[in-house]
Every structure is written in structure tokens, then in C-alpha cells.
């Protein structure tokens, strides 16, 4: 939607915005308090949330090297941070441009998909416990995009 808003700016030289176009901007502004609250939750809970997930991951995959698990966890931290920002801006292209086109290759090279699949499952479970349903639904679009791309289910 961020891009939608940006493209509205281009109209300024031809005309003033129509009511429905202003509506796009207005909708976003109305959703901001929820987005900010979700963002704050994610920020404040980051360490706790991820530590729990890390503990569960180690327990679920005891045969994996620590280095491998740590790499996936680091990537997931980065992914979550970018998804949080994407959610705040209501802009999926943010997570696409800043993260996915770059991280997908790394994930493929290190072949971490198996670990990542388990990690994402644990992470999503944890997120549904930490965030309210509305907050989770705000985070869902960029998070789903990121996870499905990194698991190679969608072309980056």
C-alpha cells in the first residue's frame, strides 16, 4: 500500500486527489496505532520470543550442528525485523527488496530449508501466543511472503 500511496503523489501535478484516493491514505493512517502497537510488541519481545524458539529448535533437532541452527536463527531474527518494518509501512516490497532477493541465495547455498521449516513452525506458534489475532493478521502478509520465498516455494 505504501507504493499505492507513492503513486498517488505523482498525480499531484495533474489534479487534486479524489475522495476514494484520499481514502487509501486515510485507511493507512487509521491503521497506524495498531501497527505501531504490533511493532512495539515485536520489538520488546524479540529476545524472549526468539530464545524460546531457539530452545525448542535445539530440542527438536538435536542432530544438527550448533553453527547450522545459529545461522538459521540469525536469518529468522533478520526476517522478523524486516517483516515488522514492512508491516509498519504496510509495504511488502520493503521486505522483498531489502531482504528476500538477497537472503534467498544464501539459504539455498547453505541448504537450510529443513531447519528453517521447523524454525518457522515454532516461530509462528510463538507469535500466535505473543500477539493478538488482529496484530498477527497485520504481520501475516510480509511474514508469509518471506517464509514461502525463503523455503523456495515462491520465486524470489
Amino acid at each position: 500500500m505504501h507504493q499505492q500511496i507513492e503513486s498517488l503523489f505523482d498525480e499531484a501535478e495533474s489534479r487534486y486527489l479524489k475522495p476514494e484516493e484520499l481514502g487509501v491514505l486515510s485507511q493507512y493512517v487509521d491503521s497506524l496505532p495498531q501497527r505501531l502497537e504490533t511493532y512495539r510488541q515485536l520489538r520488546d519481545q524479540e529476545l524472549d520470543l526468539m530464545q524460546q524458539v531457539a530452545n525448542q529448535l535445539q530440542a527438536a533437532m538435536p542432530q544438527e550442528k550448533t553453527e547450522t541452527l545459529e545461522r538459521s536463527i540469525k536469518h529468522a531474527l533478520l526476517m522478523l525485523r524486516y517483516c515488522a518494518m514492512s508491516m509498519l509501512l504496510n509495504d511488502n516490497s520493503f521486505v522483498q527488496n531489502r531482504l528476500l532477493s538477497w537472503l534467498t541465495r544464501t539459504v539455498q547455498t547453505y541448504n537450510t530449508q529443513t531447519v528453517d521449516m521447523t524454525l518457522y513452525r515454532l516461530l509462528n506458534q510463538r507469535l500466535s501466543q505473543v500477539l493478538s489475532p488482529q496484530q498477527l493478521s497485520l504481520l501475516k502478509p510480509p511474514l508469509a511472503l518471506a517464509q514461502s520465498t525463503l523455503l523456495n516455494q515462491v520465486k524470489a
Binding site: L47, Q51, L57, L69, K74, N97, W102, L103
Partner: protein, 218 residues
């Protein structure tokens, strides 16, 4: 027991340094386009590249390829130094400690963000001492005169300098396929000068890339 807090150094997880919206900045009120480090960036219009080719051809004729190659070499040397500095500053690791895949990722993103096309490495002949670099959408191929032979001497120069420094060997670079000749991509062969000697002749005789590699690695 993995400690997540320990994974965050300075609360930071470095991402994609060369992401376009982060990398390209500038004080446009002063007409300055810059990268995130404050080095100056410039947008090159296609007509300028055409002009450079035309001017070089007019003034130096046959020597154009040499001039472009040398420009490329000089550029490549400095590009390598700056590239390493930027990576070092951003990722906080010395280049020697950086994994090859991360280094290559960064190089690819850098190339993309600067609008030089898409670069990729073919390491399949690396054990024989040859590296193949592939570039698609090269602006230098697109606007070069169509001479029915490879024309990306600027890039050949950059690549030979860059990879020479990276590998600490004196690498030479010969282009085997060129977009200006209708090829699907530009392929650049990197290796020690002596071993690449036969390649220039093979390219002039219009041998395709696969055949060249077969003959070289036979």
C-alpha cells in the same frame, strides 16, 4: 544452549548492504548522487557511452580495446579496494573471514544496484584454474559498435583486476561470448595469461564458449 542475545552483536544483524533504496542516496538539491558511504555516484546516459566509443574509435582506432582494457583495470583495482572496505565496515569481518557465498552475494547485489547488469560466477572449471564470469544486460555491450567480435573490454579489465586481487594471482581475462553479437550473455574467462593465450585466437575463429572450454580443459 544457544543464546540468542549472543547472536546479536551490538543488537545488529547486518542485512543487504547494497539494497538499492539503502545504498543510493544523495543531496539532490546540490546535484549530488551518493552511495551510503558518501562516495559520489553518477548516472551515465546511454548516449555518453556511445560517445565514448565513437570518440575513442575516432582518435585511437584499433587501440580502443587497449584503452578500454586499461581503464577497466584501473577501475577494477580501485573498485576492489572500495568494495572490500565497504564490506569490512558494514559486516565487521575481514574479507578473509567472509564466506565465499556471502562475498559473491554482495558482489551480485552491488552490480545490480549500480545498474551494470546481472553478474554470476561459474565455478565449474575452477579446479582446472579457470573462472567464468557471466554478465547479462551489460550497458557496455548494449551501446558498443557491432563489430562481430566481443567488445566488453572495460569489463574484461575490471574483472581481471578484481579477481587478480581477490585470488592474489595475476589473472588475465578474455571475453568469449558477447551480447553485442547476439549471445544470451557475456562470458568472461579468467585465468593465468599463459593459459589463456590460445583463447583469443579461438574467439577470433568464432568458436563457441563450450568448445573453447573443452579444448582448454582437454
Amino acid at each position: 544452549m544457544i543464546s540468542v542475545a549472543d547472536l546479536l552483536i551490538d543488537n545488529r544483524i547486518p542485512g543487504n548492504y547494497f539494497a538499492t533504496d539503502a545504498y543510493v542516496q544523495g543531496d539532490l538539491e546540490l546535484g549530488l548522487l551518493e552511495n551510503r558511504r558518501g562516495d559520489r555516484l553518477l548516472a551515465l546516459p546511454e548516449t555518453l557511452i556511445q560517445g565514448i566509443y565513437a570518440g575513442l574509435d575516432k582518435e585511437t582506432g584499433q587501440a580502443t580495446r587497449l584503452v578500454l582494457m586499461n581503464c577497466g583495470r584501473w577501475w577494477g583495482k580501485n573498485f576492489y579496494a572500495r568494495f572490500c572496505e565497504e564490506l569490512n565496515d558494514y559486516y565487521g569481518t575481514a574479507l578473509a573471514d567472509m564466506a565465499m557465498v556471502e562475498f559473491l552475494q554482495s558482489l551480485q547485489q552491488c552490480w545490480l544496484t549500480h545498474g551494470w547488469g546481472k553478474i554470476d560466477l561459474d565455478q565449474s572449471h575452477q579446479n582446472r584454474g579457470f573462472l567464468v564470469v557471466e554478465i547479462v544486460n551489460s550497458p557496455f555491450a548494449q551501446h558498443a559498435p557491432k563489430l562481430n567480435r566481443p567488445v566488453c573490454f572495460l569489463e574484461a579489465g575490471i574483472l581481471s583486476s578484481f579477481f587478480s586481487q581477490l585470488t592474489n594471482k595475476d589473472l588475465y581475462c578474455v571475453q568469449t561470448t558477447c551480447e553485442s553479437m547476439g549471445a544470451d550473455r557475456n562470458r568472461f574467462l579468467l585465468g593465468l595469461a599463459k593459459r589463456l593465450e590460445p583463447v583469443e585466437v579461438m574467439v577470433e575463429n568464432q568458436l563457441d564458449h563450450e568448445t573453447i572450454m573443452q579444448k582448454l580443459c582437454a
